[in-house]
Amino acid sequence: MRVTLPAPSKPSRTLRAGAAALALTLAVHGAAASDSFAVRGAVVVVAPGQVVENGVVWIENGKVRAVGPDVEVPEGTPVVEHDGYVTPGLVAFGSSDGLEGETFDSTRSMLPAASIADAVNLSHRGFDALCRAGITTVVLSPSVDALAGGSTAVVKTAGNRMLTRDAHFALSFDSAALDRERFPTSYGAAVDELDRLVESGEGRFAAVAGGDLPVLMAVSARHEALRAARWARRHGLRGAVMGGDLTGELADELAAAGLAAVVAPMAPGQPARSLDAMMALNAANVPLALMAGTPAHHPDDLRLTAAMCLREGLARNAAWRMLTAGAARIAGVGGSVGTLAEGRDADLVLWSGDPLELSSTVEAVYVDGVSALGGER
């Protein structure tokens, strides 16, 4: 990776040492310069199924101004030369990264008006690990201990930016919501109470029932996913279930309910059945995203999962969709992130090679056009 001023040239790795020195220079002199630069990559993955060889991404004011093989950038625009892959930043559903203080309320199972955004410290260093793995956008959700935990938030993993503080309405069909010493203690009462609230359209439930606010339903056991899918279908709600290693075994139920699935990534040592379940989701055309977030999941497991699915026969663009545009769509921010299309946030990851090959490494990450890791700009 190197920066040339002004004209692009063939990618090369020979000037790395020099590039570092040049980067320092840029840091000093580039501060007041125009907020415009370009990245030329040997391979640019614009969107799932849209791959450009020797492509250029022109970035202006934190957004993608143009992308393609023949983008002409104005004279004097710095160009970062990269001889590997350039992709959109990955999008994942997180657990508790960046959250501070108590995230569940042990006395109340219903906190429908709460917003997890209020608990986020955007400069929390917990986001760094995600960023280093190429994950630039993450959905934070309330604790699964709450039957109705309130709103999820979508944040960038660098740059202190929150995309939305109202992405989904978080519900928990997970047994964790029942195991506190408070109402409800049973699946039956939980469903009954949620039925009542959706039907009465109380408070935030009106937006849910009206379809304005998608639900994000936490599950772990398969029967919990089944219960959530049935419940959402009964009320005609849109949204996703999140969690569970074997949720994919209910792919048909999710498809019938028109729900998306957010599932745990594959980790080393996980049984083949989990992978089969994930493939079943793809086969049933259930929109799919993965969870990241410490300590439950290693951020690199996103790529591992996509690679394993690829080996099982998943189409490459489907694998990419799961990591980027598809996940962004489930997160409700598909218009901002997940692809490098014109006008989208300039969230870029520069990889040493094909990101779906696990030997490839992250060499630089840009979030909203600003270097978050390793970049020259």
Partner: protein
């Protein structure tokens, strides 16, 4: 600005994937012939052909020899067994414990139909079960009849088949607060048998009062009133003599007060043999628990093998249960066999695991016997049912072949 004109689609062509994975419509048309057919509807046929169409029994034709093209055959055919208290739930999460009385909550939303234990029951010839909220609340809600196999969305045979509750120690177990202030969510619940019984009486009285005064209605009062009117059977767990007496007296008290006549089913009533006159007097039905090695059950009740016979001889409707236990030494068929060792005649034992529980819980129009029009829940045996040497070699649930007798044909023997 020039946007890419040539965008390469490097993506591999869409990989061949399994076709949607949609659940295939099960085949549920069959012909079944057996050398002996116990219908549990009063007949035993020496050779009969049962035609199954669309999941239901289309015809039952006496036939000494099997037709050549018959699909399934066995030595003996019985209706699918029904466990009258199957207890396959998600444990304490299948009953709401934030209140002692949660009559309105149905068990249906709190089950795990994907639990492998259901399939295990089906393989042992149990094709349906009565499932109720576990007895951690005093009045735990509404029970249901579920099939043990088949597509998940077609397992439910009937919901709201009974109001479920318990008398005795279970709802009060572990509720003692010890010393000082309550430090636990559950300690407000009754801590004694008397406290448990008080919740029953209070709930039923208040429900009855609310009939004339809508202001007094409360969550579940409508369900309690359906129970008081006799429309909804009341299944009460009562293992021991004193608990059985309490349940019977509760029913009599409600009648005396003019509130109505409870349709009482005593579940797990191991000591029912000790107060048979009371049961005859109030016309209660009895579901018996699984036999134990020691003859003692939960709550220290004494449960001899002769109990089913004694109740049967008095004309008390009885059903047997294995409580959904999946081990071969605890199966429902074995419970029937043990009851027979205690003197219960075969036909009565068969009824106690088929038509009797179906009647108690109001599903005998669909389940419990081999009769035209009923669901094709059938069990094929390689020998005399309930004999420990006999095996279940074939099972149909709602016409779907769950255990294929053709795969166990080598094991079958002539009756």
């Amino acid at each position: 600005m020039i946007l890419a004109a040539t965008i390469l689609a490097l993506a591999a062509p869409a990989a061949t994937q399994p076709a949607g994975g949609r659940t295939q419509e099960p085949q549920n048309d069959w012909t079944v012939w057996a050398a002996k057919v116990h219908t549990a509807a009063g007949d035993t046929l020496d050779g009969a052909l049962v035609q199954v169409t669309g999941g239901a029994i289309a015809s039952v034709t006496p036939m000494a020899e099997p037709p050549e093209d018959v699909a399934l055959r066995a030595a003996v055919l019985t209706p699918g067994m029904i466990d009258a208290s199957i207890r396959l739930t998600a444990g304490s999460r299948s009953v709401e414990q934030s209140s002692e009385q949660v009559a309105r909550l149905s068990i249906v939303d709190a089950l795990d139909p994907l639990d492998e234990a259901w399939a295990g029951q089906a393989r042992r010839g149990v094709t349906a079960g009565v499932v109720c909220p576990p007895d951690f609340a005093v009045i735990g809600g509404l029970g249901a009849v579920m099939r043990t196999a088949g597509p998940v969305d077609r397992r439910l045979v009937a919901e709201e088949v009974c109001l479920r509750g318990a008398i005795g120690t279970q709802p009060s177990l572990g509720n003692n607060m010890g010393f000082g202030v309550p430090g636990n969510f559950y300690v407000r619940r009754p801590t004694t048998r008397m406290g448990v019984e008080w919740v029953w009486r209070k709930s039923l009285y208040e429900a009855a009062y609310s009939r004339d005064d809508p202001e007094r209605a409360f969550e579940g009062s409508d369900v309690l009133n359906r129970a008081l009117s006799g429309e909804l059977p009341v299944s009460i767990q009562a293992w021991t003599t004193q608990d059985i007496r309490t349940a019977v007296f509760l029913k009599e008290e409600m009648a005396r007060e003019g509130f109505g006549e409870l349709d009482l089913i005593l579940d797990a009533a191991a000591e029912a043999w000790r107060e048979p006159d009371l049961l005859v007097r109030v016309g209660a039905s009895v579901v018996l628990p699984p036999f134990t090695p020691t003859g003692r059950t939960a709550d220290g009740a004494l449960f001899p093998l002769e109990c089913p016979r004694e109740l049967h001889d008095l004309g008390i409707p009885i059903a047997l249960s294995a409580h959904g236990d999946g081990s071969p030494t605890e199966s429902l068929a074995l419970q029937a066999g043990l009851a027979m060792r205690g003197g219960l005649p075969f036909d009565a034992a068969l009824e106690a695991v088929t038509i009797a529980p179906a009647r108690m819980y109001g599903v005998d129009d669909r389940l419990g016997s081999i009769e035209v029009g009923k669901d094709a829940d059938l069990v094929l045996w390689n020998g005399t049912p309930f004999e420990p040497t006999s095996r279940v070699v074939g099972v149909l649930v709602h016409g779907e072949l769950i255990v294929d007798p053709r795969e166990s044909a080598a094991d079958s023997r002539d009756p």
